[in-house]
Amino acid sequence: MERAAQQAVPLGQMEVFQALQRLHMTIFSQSVSPCGKFLAAGNNYGQIAIFSLSAALSSEAKEESKKPMVTFHAHDGPVYSMVSTDRHLLSAGDGEVKAWLWAEILKKGCKELWRRQPPYRTSLEVPEINALLLVPKENLLILAGGDCQLHAMDLETGTFMWALRGHTDYIHCLALRERSPEVLSGGEDGAVRLWDLRTAKEVQTVEVYKHEECSRPHNGRWIGCLATDSDWMVCGGGPALTLWHLRSSTPTTVFPMRAPQKHVTFYQDLVLTAAGNSCRVDVFTNLGYRAFSLSF
């Protein structure tokens, strides 16, 4: 009774704080486990939550099974990006990449396996890592973020092999052209750059904002999302979401989307995109026709 009474005040505070936290929470990243049964999600408070997809999708799912089975504090800042290898979960946010063993996470042992920090030049502010990209053939992890560079890390040794410089502002997103070992990166500076991994050189640059048809100056020039399908690329952000033909570096289709897009992906010959401030997932054909919209 006494203890309960003493806890009464902090409890009230805690509840309010938790409610406020949830109110202002943003989920930046997610990753499915190698086995496909679990989903890891990272939010702006640096927490990673593991959900059991199999439990949540089963017919006997309860309210309880839709709650995270494990939540742990991974980073000081927001968890901007996560990828999964066949054993590890890699997360990155405030300038560091951390590795967690899936097996251990599922056993609720939330101890990081290792952490690596790319060599940064500035010390005043630790640059964030906005995107992670796995290159399975090379067993490489490519990190990109606030310091405007792409860092390549050898997953075997954990050493940073090289850095690709070229962006003038921080990098938002990365995409891998699987056929040829090339990586696309889109940044705040409004450019999409194509890098050759073998030579570690910039191959091509597409400055999206300079094209009239897709430029939206009031939204800024930043490229927020990027997807590629060998010859084709879709990118969006400040400029409108546009389908590009990479070889010719010409925008072929501008999708009629008003708000800045946050995510885009190819599915066969469809373009799927999700807007940041919208409840809809719009599905387009290559030709720019909106086929239909998925809505919450």
């Binding site: 009464a8 406020l20 202002h24 964030e128």
Partner: protein
């Protein structure tokens, strides 16, 4: 026995040796005494008589005529009692049959048929005596009746009455009262001393007899022959009566020789007995006679009053016994055993006695007299029956019988053979016929001889008639006897039957007794004894006696019972001790109590005296005491609150012991209200409730009839239900800035909850801002002191039922009047209500109150302070000034361009309707207990609306801001991540904004931060190249980067010392 006598009669001679060869002692048996008849007119002489026959054996030879005594030892004695039938053929043809004891005199003087008359007791004794010496009869006095009373037998038939005499019996009977007195002595001698005794007496007694000086003469000395053995009988005669006796006695006393004699004699004696006798007047005086003789002393014990009768009869009977001069003397007792008669007879020998006595029976009159002296005892026929009767033919029977004869006939019947009687009857009848025939013959013939012959025949036939009559009588008697015998047998059988029944009954009784004995249960079986092992273990060996009791269960049980008794005794002893102890202790307690009660007045006076000292020392003990007195009338919850609050106040005061305790006592407790009312309430606590319930029932019944007054009644009942206890506890909580929170606690008696009313007073007058209206209102100042405890609902689940009864929906409507029933108030009062169960198990609990006191007090203080702080801030905010205190300046850059332009309070409903507050409402953070405000921050054309939720728990729970920016379109957290980030910056990162403890400046800082954020937002907004002209808001803030992360968040974080903004 009679046969024996008869045979001995025929024996002729008897051996001359003192041999006892027979005795009969018919004591108590009428069978042997003989002589009794049925229906005797003189039967009054009956049963109680006894007869005593004594055979005295006479002294040797003729006695000396003149005081000469011949001492002889010749002769022998024989005792016999004869009962025989005598037939005395008289002229009248009467036969008298009597049983008779006969004495045979040894002298053989012929037979004297002596009709001895025995009017006597059933006990008669005959003793045969051997005469040892003494004066004895020599000449026979013939003056006795020698002549038969030959009077007609009719006289004997009818006259046998003895005239009653009026004189004293002894004078009538004795010859002369003064002439002779006899003393008879019976000495029972030790058998071995008999000879010595005889020689001794022979030596001494004759001297006395011969001595002239002594007027006594020895009639005779005898030894008994038959009868009581080893006995000597002395008969003395005192000539001159009693004077002679006395004279003789006196002389003997001085006679040394005699005294010696007596001494010597006494060693030989077993016992002595004597009697003084007088002689019958009609009897001979004993005279010396020639011997040798045997003497028979017959002693009769008579019924009192029959002595005269006896004498008269014997006076007539004695004449029949004079023939052989066998009568010696007749005496009756005068002193000694009374109603005793002694007859002394002398015979030559026993044979002559027999003959003499038989002869007497043959005389007419003897038997008659004997009969009259006989008791009226029935005689047994078998005794009477005898074959020794004379020939019947000699008997003549008369038809006219007197009763005596009738009864003789009765006896006779037994002796006669009925067959022979029948023969006799037939013979008599034939004779009669013959005689009649002869008479007829004679008469018919006639003749002179005829008359004589006829007369003779007539006489003969008369005799025959008599015989017939006799036979007729006998037949009747036989019939009667047969009946009697049957009856007797039947009675015997009955007696046996009765005896059998008695025996059976006795058997049954005995069986019952046996059963009872078998069923007997001892009491000890019910006693619960200690077990056997325990007994042997504990009992001392002198009780347990193991060697004895081990084998013997009876002894064992006894021993165990002993042990039980012993133990019980001990326990009883102990019990008594304990009782006395208790008494003692009680007394001690009494004494101590007295002492204590005497202490009270003294203590009171001391208290009185100490009052000024208390005042002086600022230690108001007395006042506190008074308060405590009052507190006793508080209801339990208030009392708990009072006690705990007082305790807490004192504890706090002591904590700051360095300061004067009385000065800033931060918690003061007082009691308000009327004590009297409380007392009155306390006395009849149930009456009001009863009334209520009664009226309840009544009301339910009469609802329909009295509808108009229903509302009034309900109101009354509501009031009654919500009634407060007249006493309340006043708590003053002083804060550091001298503002005071006044809390008044009430107790709602019927609801069993506590309520509180609060009031805040500040040290300085406050300018009340419009928006701060609710901050210090009593209604809301204590709201949500604990989360969710808004004090609008009753905490007692049971109350809801009570409310339903009187139609109260919630307590909310009455809260303003009653005060708020906050949960913490209940806890302070120690009332604990379960959350779920509708039944309340309410116990006022000190520990509950105590555990909450400190926390609650702290919360209360914080609440007041925060409210006061808010009050102040609001005052500034209303004027558009964000009152950032100096110690919070580091949180913000020096230059803040955005300005707060408006701070107003808005209603909860208005807040809910705002479009940008949806998220907060959905998150459940916008309860109706909160306060709501709207702030407007402006910079240039940009207008930022901020809807603020102020939790009552400020500042521990931060205010929540929701933003809406009107600048180039409406931007909210929905469509602009940065707005969302700004909200997050204000709401979530509020901890850095709290400022110095206790963080009351939070709201101000949040508002200031909002201004800064707006500045950053506006300044960092990317310039639209397409728009002409300079940027509206040039970037003045130092930023490391403008955007960061996928959501392109602006650098909202201010780094204090460097003054630049960075991302979080």
């Amino acid at each position: 026995m009679p046969r024996l006598a008869e045979r001995s009669e025929g024996d002729g001679t008897f051996p001359l040796c003192p041999t006892l060869f027979g005795i009969t002692s018919p004591i108590g048996s009428s069978d042997l005494t003989g002589g009794a008849g049925l229906g005797s007119p003189l039967s009054g002489y009956g049963d109680s008589h006894s007869e005593r026959f004594c055979f005295l054996r006479g002294a040797a030879g003729p006695l000396l005529p003149q005081r000469s005594v011949t001492w002889g030892t010749v002769g022998w004695e024989r005792t016999s009692l004869e009962v025989r039938h005598k037939t005395g053929a008289e002229q009248k043809g009467m036969e008298l049959h009597e049983a008779q004891a006969e004495m045979v005199e040894g002298d053989g003087k012929g037979k004297g048929d002596d009709g001895e008359k025995v009017s006597l007791q059933p006990r008669a004794l005959s003793i045969c005596l051997k005469l040892l010496g003494g004066l004895f009869l020599s000449d026979y006095d013939k003056r006795f009746y020698s002549k038969d009373n030959e009077g007609s037998w009719f006289r004997s038939l009818f006259v046998h009455k003895v005239d009653p005499r009026k004189d004293a019996h002894s004078t009538l009977l004795s010859k002369k009262e003064t002439s002779n007195l006899y003393k008879i002595q019976f000495h029972n001698v030790k058998p071995e001393c008999l000879d010595a005794y005889n020689s001794l007496t022979e030596a001494v007694l004759p001297k006395l007899h011969l001595d002239e000086d002594y007027p006594c003469s020895l009639v005779g000395n005898w030894n008994t022959w038959y009868g009581e053995q080893d006995q000597a009988v002395h008969l003395w005669r005192f000539s001159g009566g009693y004077p002679a006796l006395m004279d003789c006695m006196n002389k003997l006393k001085s006679n040394k020789e005699y005294l010696e004699f007596r001494k010597e004699r006494s060693q030989m004696l077993l016992s002595r007995r004597n009697q003084l006798l007088l002689e019958f007047s009609f009897w001979n005086e004993p005279q010396p006679r020639a011997g040798p003789n045997i003497y028979e002393l017959r002693t009769y014990k008579l019924k009192p009053g029959t002595m005269i009768e006896w004498g008269n009869n014997w006076a007539r009977a004695i004449k029949y016994r004079q023939e052989n001069q066998e009568a010696v003397g007749g005496f009756f007792s005068q002193i000694g055993e009374l109603y005793v008669v002694h007859h002394l007879w002398a015979y030559k020998d026993l044979q002559s006695r027999e003959e003499t006595r038989n002869a007497a029976w043959r005389k007419r009159g003897w038997d008659e007299n004997v009969y009259y002296t006989e008791s009226s005892k029935k005689r047994k026929p078998k005794v009477i029956r005898s074959d020794g009767a004379p020939a019947e033919g000699k008997r003549t029977r008369s038809d006219t019988e007197q009763e005596g004869k009738y009864y003789s006939e009765e006896a006779e019947v037994d002796l006669r053979d009925p067959g022979r009687d029948y023969e006799l009857y037939k013979y008599t009848c034939q004779e009669l016929q013959r005689l009649m025939a002869e008479i007829q013959d004679l008469k018919s013939r006639g003749g002179k001889d005829a008359a004589v012959e006829i007369e003779d025949r007539r006489i003969q036939s008369c005799v025959h008639f008599m015989t017939l009559k006799k036979l007729n009588r006998l037949a009747h008697i036989r019939l009667k006897k047969g009946r009697d015998q049957t009856h007797e047998a039947k009675q015997k059988v009955d007696a046996y039957h009765l005896q059998l029944q008695n025996l059976l009954y006795e058997v049954m009784h005995l069986q019952k007794e046996i059963t009872k004995c078998l069923e007997f249960k001892s009491k000890h079986e019910e006693i619960d004894l200690v077990s056997l092992e325990e007994f042997y273990k504990e009992a001392p060996p002198d009780i347990s006696k193991a060697e004895v009791t081990m084998g013997d269960p009876h002894q064992q049980t006894l021993a165990r019972l002993d042990w039980e008794l012993e133990q019980r005794k001990r326990l009883a002893e102990k019990y008594r001790e304990c009782l006395s102890n208790k008494e003692k202790i009680l007394k001690e307690i009494e004494v101590k109590k007295e002492y204590l009660s005497s202490l009270q007045p003294r203590l009171n006076s001391i208290m009185q005296a100490s009052l000024p000292v208390q005042e002086y020392l600022f230690m108001p003990f007395d006042q506190a005491h008074k308060q405590y007195e009052t507190a006793r009338h508080l209801p339990p919850p208030l009392y708990v609150l009072f006690v705990q609050a007082t305790a807490y106040g004192q504890a706090c005061a002591h904590r700051k012991s360095s300061q004067p305790p009385r000065q800033d006592k931060m918690l003061s407790v007082a009691i308000e209200g009327s004590v009297d009312e409380a007392k009155a309430l306390f006395k009849p606590p149930e009456d009001s409730q009863d009334d209520e319930s009664d009226s309840d029932a009544e009301e339910e019944q009469t609802t329909k009839r009295r509808r108009p007054t229903l509302g009034v009644q309900l109101d009354d009942k509501r009031k009654e239900m919500l009634k407060r206890h007249p006493l309340s506890v006043l708590l003053d909580l002083k804060c550091k800035d001298d503002s005071v929170l006044h809390l008044t606690f009430y107790y709602l008696m019927n609801l069993n909850i506590m309520t509180v009313k609060a009031k805040v007073t500040t040290a300085t007058e406050l300018i009340t801002p419009i928006s701060a209206g609710d901050l210090l209102s009593p209604d809301s100042v204590l709201s949500c002191l604990y989360p969710g405890d808004h004090g609008k609902k009753t905490p007692n689940p049971a109350n809801q039922y009570q409310f339903d009864k009187v139609g109260i929906l919630t307590l909310r409507d009455y809260v303003l009047d009653l005060g708020h029933p906050y949960l913490w108030v209940q806890k302070l009062g120690g009332l604990h209500f379960p959350k779920e169960q509708p039944q309340h198990t309410v116990i006022t609990d000190h520990s509950l109150s105590a555990s909450h006191m400190e926390t609650t007090m702290k919360l209360l203080k914080t609440r007041v302070q925060s409210r006061l702080a808010l009050h102040k801030q609001f005052a500034s905010l209303e004027h558009g000034i964000v009152p950032v205190t100096s110690d919070c300046h580091y949180l913000f850059p020096a230059k803040v361009v955005s300005r707060l332009v408006k701070w107003v309070t808005i209603a909860h409903e208005d807040y809910m309707e705002l479009h940008f507050t949806k998220d907060v409402v959905e998150a459940g953070l916008a309860g109706d207990t909160n306060l709501y405000y709207m702030a407007l921050v402006e910079r240039g054309t940009a207008k930022l609306q901020a809807a603020v939720v102020l939790n009552p728990g400020y500042s521990s729970i931060p205010p929540i801001f929701q933003l809406c920016l009107n600048w180039k379109g409406e931007k909210t957290n929905n469509n602009d991540d940065n707005i969302r980030a700004m909200e997050s910056e204000v709401n979530v990162c509020c901890k850095e904004l709290c400022g110095p403890r206790p963080g009351h400046q939070l709201l101000t800082n949040q508002l200031q931060r909002l201004c800064v954020l707006l500045d950053v937002y506006l300044e960092t907004e990317s310039h639209d190249d397409s728009v002409e002209g300079p940027k509206e808001f040039p970037q003045e803030k130092m930023c490391l980067r403008l955007f960061r992360g996928p959501s392109r968040i602006k650098p909202f974080k201010y780094n204090h010392p460097q003054g630049f903004f960075s991302h979080r």
